[in-house]
């Protein structure tokens, strides 16, 4: 079973200098910690007028990188986004689509997002849904919209057949979403938001099946080892750790 990081990015973050923001940086920290690959998205795409231009850059970066998969950034409020997905599948071999409702200004009950979910279901592609990129206390210059847990609950209920990965959710939020996550056959959540309590993996695996949890670092915005050590040193079985570190549907 290969260990993967479901939440890593390359590119620039407009609000502060990132010193380890290349694919090589990601690969270095992964290799040092026995991670075999990752699902990579473009930070640049979040802020470009046309996100696809960032994904063209990302494709050039990833095209020869074994074990590293392209996650396409889509803003469903932009016209013709379905063409971008089609091209992403054909040219880049994308393995998922990532959205940023907080930065792109729409809610989870938006009709264009519903159309995006229909297309993803049709193509069996997972939706990567970051609940945040920075701690809201640290937002600088712009304040992205927040995603309320009631919105997430409604979204999960509305799309029971879509593969969805919730990124950077806090432990307290996962507790609020417990029923919806358990009831949804295809939803998972990553580890990058597990920061506010001690022994979070031990506690979460007592509530959720290990298959619901995937390893995601949000590197290089966040440190890699802060969340990787949560799993590596957790007092859970090696089988449970392996399930978290590999992602299978």
């Amino acid at each position: 079973m290969k260990a993967v990081d479901l939440n890593c990015l390359v590119g620039h973050w407009p609000f502060r200098k990132l010193h380890k923001n290349t694919l090589e940086d990601i690969q270095n920290v992964h290799r040092a910690n026995n991670i075999d690959g990752g699902y990579v998205a473009s930070l640049n795409s979040i802020f470009y007028n046309d996100p696809f231009e960032g994904d063209e850059e990302l494709h050039e970066i990833l095209k020869d990188a074994d074990g590293y998969h392209h996650v396409l950034t889509i803003n469903p409020k932009l016209l013709e986004f379905e063409e971008d997905i089609k091209e992403g599948i054909e040219r880049f071999g994308i393995k998922g689509v990532r959205i940023y409702p907080g930065y792109h200004g729409y809610s989870l009950d938006d009709k264009d997002l519903a159309e995006l979910c229909r297309i993803l279901k049709e193509n069996d592609l997972p939706l990567f849904l970051p609940l945040r990129m920075e701690d809201p206390r640290l937002n600088y210059i712009i304040t992205p919209g927040t995603i309320a847990m009631d919105e997430v609950k409604g979204f999960l209920k509305s799309f029971p057949d879509n593969k969805i990965i919730l990124l950077t959710a806090f432990v307290s939020e996962l507790k609020q979403l417990e029923d919806e996550i358990k009831d949804h056959s295809y939803v998972k959540f990553d580890t990058s938001g597990l920061k506010d309590t001690l022994f979070s993996i031990e506690n979460l695996t007592a509530v959720f099946p290990a298959e619901k949890i995937v390893y995601g670092s949000l590197y290089p915005l966040y440190t890699f080892r802060s969340t990787y050590f949560l799993i590596k040193h957790a007092e859970v079985s090696e089988k449970v750790k392996a399930k978290i570190l590999s992602c299978s549907w």
Binding site: V29, D135, R137, L194, L198, L221, S226, T227, L230, H233
Partner: protein
């Protein structure tokens, strides 16, 4: 060796001889964390209300003193003081002279450069003990009397012989480090729930590794938030050792004066 300069027992204090249930829970978590993460020494202060009354302060410091007695090898204490109280000096003296605490803790009841803090700082200079100051710049949710890095810098310049620790990198390193970088009597801890990849490297670039101390804010934060910051940082082994314990040992050593 590993020293955690910044942890808490949280909740309403109990009544002697029994700790409250929530504080017992914090204590259990800290002891378990000490064992699991091989922490040699954990420094604790008790916190609950933003504006605690005298009774609450006395109760929280009693809880910390009790914890020190129960776990003398692992646990050290910072005496929590509300400078707005008329008995604040007595609280500090009791904490240091009778309850075996090793520093003073200021939280959010007053700004740290409020004039009511000055006599307390002067007493800490006499004791030659560090003062752990909560400071947090927030884009949302700033508290009315929550100190910021400029408040800490004001205090540091007024009392260059005081040993100050600004907690949480001032909340946001990009706001918190520049104001104190020319204050050699201010150390920083990076405790708490933030673990941005570049914060420690940025802090080291501005103030060097000699003034960074390891803290976690447990049990309200994951230990690995902060361990990961050091292990991911561009730091030499010598710099890591300084951050993990050597800087804290120097700061806590009452025999060594900085001026």
């Amino acid at each position: 060796m590993l020293i955690d300069i910044h942890t808490h027992i949280w909740g309403p204090p109990g009544s002697p001889p029994c700790s409250s249930e929530t504080i017992e829970s914090s204590k259990k978590d800290l002891i378990k964390a000490g064992e699991k993460y091989k922490i040699d020494r954990i420094y604790v202060s008790g916190l609950y209300s933003h504006y605690p009354d005298e009774e609450e302060i006395a109760g929280l410091n009693w809880e910390v003193a009790k914890f020190i007695k129960e776990e003398p090898k692992l646990i050290g204490g910072f005496c929590y003081v509300n400078p707005a109280h008329s008995n604040a000096m007595d609280v500090l003296k009791k904490g240091i002279e009778e309850q075996n605490m090793e520093g003073m803790k200021l939280w959010v009841a007053t700004f740290c450069d409020d004039e009511r803090v000055f006599p307390l700082v002067e007493q800490c200079i006499l004791y030659n003990i560090p003062i752990l100051i909560h400071a947090f710049h927030k884009a949302v949710g700033q508290l009315e009397h929550e100190s910021l890095a400029p408040n800490v810098a004001n205090l540091a310049r007024r009392y260059p012989e005081a040993k100050l620790i600004i907690a949480h990198l001032g909340g946001n390193a990009y706001y918190g480090i520049k104001p104190i970088r020319n204050c050699p009597n201010v150390w920083v801890d990076f405790s708490g729930s933030l673990f941005r990849r570049d914060d420690i490297d940025y802090t080291k670039k501005l103030i060097g590794a000699d003034r960074i101390v390891f803290g976690t804010d447990m049990p309200g934060a994951s230990f690995y938030n902060n361990l990961g910051q050091v292990e991911d940082g561009d730091l030499t082994e010598e710099e890591k050792e300084k951050i993990y314990y050597k800087n804290a040992l120097r700061l806590l050593d009452r025999r060594e004066r900085i001026l």
